[in-house]
């Protein structure tokens, strides 16, 4: 019997570490014949911590939302084989569908193997593609296979991977670099973190194949500093690969030698832009460079460099093993293969979703994600983070395809998919992203530095009820000039959240400006809480739950909210059993 505890960052945050320790202690003290091990993130984040029990015949019992208190019943189950002991914890058939409806390529090992054991990766076809490449394919043949697959950059822009590799290969120079962009900065996106934490060798193998194809002498992974566990696991994986001869000198006995190292970022969203990332790698402020020259020609230390995202590399070994055509058989005319999304927000079942391109947004949000939580109404989905946009509910039949998503005004993006219900104010959402880009703008070009600031000020005014006639037009004008004038991708796409919300939710902007109302009831400056004297029973619950003691009143007498003290958290409204708290 084998027991796997899912220990990705999400699982650990939900308490998986404690569950593992408790299981380990009991298994050891009772000398049970069980192999306990750690695995990465299976992607069912909403059910963490997850414990998978594999019987010797390969049958899987998946237990979800396991806490320390449940450990005793798991031990009982192991000893007696009586499934009743853990019945309450077994994953429901409905939840099983979350995974059954997915097609996993980039995530194929996630939550299945132990990311800290190279042998488990090797046993599941690991390093097979690298062996094939080094022993039987020329660099040109590798690039050709990637071309056949139609693989495009998964970081968001969707540029054909083979084209970048080919350009870097053809670039003159002995010294070339292959870089992995693991600076996953979009708020609400954690696909790359999951891949590195759960399957680091898959990234290493994909990068080595890329390094062989372009003739890079060194491979570098630039990882966000906010991902300590990913850095730790990748370090260990690199050490193991070196030890086994998959990295270092004369890999697999061939004359191919490569080194790989990790560089931790220091917290700057703009470093996800490839030239800013290069500046940061060189120990500078992460400010983008003018393009051209492109990195393929002049990148890291002005040498030819190729930069791809984690998910892009995570597909490479599979493509070499299964052929480019197999990959290209999935998807649409313009978008091939699968894409990983981080499904979050007001969704019932949130987590990592990998599906073939060409499915609809509805498929992801409703069939896999189970729709909206708490029976509320689906309003919009935000894709592509601060560079992307909000797609309204009525367009949920849009296909997952670079061009189709682009046509809505949003982008495919790196995979953040934040679902919103009717309690989310779209003006406030736009403000949230502008606040983000304003803080993260590196300051190099005027359009981005000052333009986003001015936009932010207007949005702030509108959400505070101080919007005026002409604000919408001014916003639109600023959007266009920033798009046209900004130097890098961050600035050029920064207006997207505003443009898409203006396009689909203009009435909400108008309600804020003209009627001084927030239809979603989210912009606190436009709300006032009060207690209906006729409905209030004086139960005191609201005053107990008020975090700032703004509610006064004796038992069984009508309570009053002190408007000056009130922070409009809405706790009182949520706890009142008599519907006596009003918000207008």
């Amino acid at each position: 019997m084998r027991i796997l505890v899912g220990e990705g960052s999400c699982g650990i945050a939900a308490g998986a570490g404690k569950v593992y320790d408790a299981l380990s202690e009991k298994i050891n003290s009772q000398s049970l014949d069980v192999k306990l091990s750690v695995t990465g993130c299976v992607g069912m984040c909403y059910l963490e911590p997850i414990v998978d029990i594999y019987l010797d015949n390969g049958e899987l019992t998946r237990l979800v939302k396991v806490d320390e208190k449940a450990v005793d019943s798991i031990i009982e189950y192991i000893k007696t084989d009586d499934i009743e002991k853990v019945k309450k914890l077994i994953v429901s058939d409905e939840d099983k569908e979350f995974l059954n409806k997915q097609t996993r390529i980039a995530l194929r090992h996630c939550g299945v193997i132990n990311p800290e054991k190279i042998d488990e990766y090797i046993a599941d076809d690991g390093y097979k593609a690298l062996t094939k490449v080094l022993t039987s394919l020329s660099p040109e043949q590798v690039i050709d296979e990637i071309k056949k697959s139609g693989l495009a950059g998964r970081g968001g822009a969707g540029f054909p991977t083979w084209f970048k590799w080919d350009a870097a290969r053809k670039s003159k120079g002995e010294e070339k670099y292959l870089i992995c962009n693991a600076d996953e900065g979009d708020p609400g996106a954690f696909m790359d973190r999951a891949v590195i934490e759960s399957d680091p060798h898959n990234l290493i193998e994909g990068m080595l194949i890329g390094a062989y194809a372009i003739g890079a002498h060194e491979a570098i992974v630039y990882v966000r500093a906010e991902y300590p566990l990913a850095i730790l696991r990748l370090k260990e994986a690199i050490r193991q690969s070196n030890e086994r001869g998959y990295l270092g000198k004369n890999i697999l006995g061939t004359d191919f030698s490569r080194v790989m190292r990790i560089k931790a970022g220091a917290g700057a969203f703009v470093c996800g832009e490839e030239t800013a990332l290069i500046e940061s790698l060189e120990g500078q402020r992460g400010m983008p460079r003018l393009k051209p020259p492109f990195p393929a020609e002049s990148g890291y230390w002005h040498k030819p460099s190729n930069i791809n995202n984690v998910e892009t590399y995570a597909n490479v070994a599979w493509i070499i093993n299964n052929g480019g055509e197999a990959f290209a058989s999935m998807g649409t005319q313009d978008s091939k293969g699968t894409k990983v999304f981080a499904l979050t927000g007001k969704i019932k079942r949130g987590g990592l979703v990998e599906i073939p391109m060409g499915k609809t947004l509805h498929d992801v949000i409703f069939d896999i994600g189970g729709g909206i939580r708490d029976g509320k109404k689906f309003k919009a989905v935000q894709m592509g983070g601060p560079s992307g946009g909000c797609i309204p509910a009525e367009l949920d039949d849009t296909l997952i395809d670079y061009k189709k998503l682009g046509a809505t005004g949003a982008i495919m993006g790196s995979g953040g998919m934040v679902v919103m219900d009717d309690s989310t104010c779209m003006v406030n959402m736009a403000k949230f992203f502008l606040d983000f880009t304003t803080k993260e703008s590196c300051g190099k070009c005027i359009h981005c530095r000052i333009g986003t600031k001015r936009m932010m000020e207007i949005l702030d005014r509108i959400t505070k009820g101080e919007g005026k006639e002409g604000d919408i037009e001014l916003l639109e004008e600023l959007c266009i000039s920033i798009k046209d004038g900004a130097l890098c991708g961050l600035g050029q796409t920064a207006p997207n959240p505003v443009l898409t919300t203006l396009k689909y939710f203009r009435d909400e902007y108008e309600a804020h400006i003209k009627e001084k109302k927030c239809p979603a009831g989210e912009c606190t400056s436009l709300l006032t809480y009060s207690i209906d004297a006729e409905k209030c029973k004086g139960c005191t619950l609201c005053s107990k739950k008020c975090p700032v003691d703004a509610i006064s009143g004796a038992v069984k007498s009508v309570h009053i909210i002190d408007i000056e003290k009130c922070i409009k958290c809405g706790n009182c409204m949520a706890v009142c059993k008599f519907g006596a708290v009003r918000c207008s």
Binding site: A225, K263, A266
Partner: protein, 162 residues
């Protein structure tokens, strides 16, 4: 640069790091990260010392350090509260959590309480979106927060000291 009132910054702790990275081109950020690990923040003396040892002008060292959000120039409180501002947390009400915590502590974002117990800092996405809204205090993650849950966590931590 002014001399810090606290003269006890032991610069020799940095020597190992500087020796290791001094001759490796492009290592300034790595050196700064190591320095912050040692001192908990980047005191002025440390910035000047790194500049002198690496022959990089102090203004440039400072320029790089201030560009990245990871670097701090003031010591932080005993409990560093990092409140996630990711999209999922935002949609699930992280602003209300921030309001409740700042009201409870009487400080605003980025500040430290007078007793040196708490620092509150809003941070970019922590990546625990399914547990949103989320905060991390001294490496421990607290998920599915409500305003009163957040305030209770702070009060419990404060109780620890007394």
């Amino acid at each position: 640069m002014s001399v810090n009132a606290n003269n006890r910054v032991n610069l020799s702790l940095l020597n190992g790091v500087i020796q290791e990275y001094k001759s490796v081109k492009g290592s300034l950020i790595t050196i700064l990260q190591n320095a912050q690990d040692i001192y908990g923040y980047l005191p002025h003396e440390v910035i000047e010392y790194i500049a002198k040892e690496t022959c990089i002008p102090a203004a440039r060292v400072m320029g790089v350090a201030t560009f990245y959000t990871q670097f701090r120039f003031q010591p932080v409180g005993k409990h560093l509260i990092m409140l996630c501002q990711g999209t999922a947390c935002h949609v699930n009400g992280s602003n209300k959590i921030l309001d409740a915590i700042t009201a409870e502590l009487g400080i605003s974002d980025g500040q430290t309480t007078e007793d040196g117990l708490f620092t509150i800092k809003t941070v970019a996405c922590l990546g625990c979106c399914s547990l949103s809204p989320v905060m991390m205090i001294n490496e421990k993650t607290y998920g599915r927060l409500t305003t009163d849950k957040a305030v209770k966590i702070i009060r419990d931590l404060r109780g620890e000291k007394k």
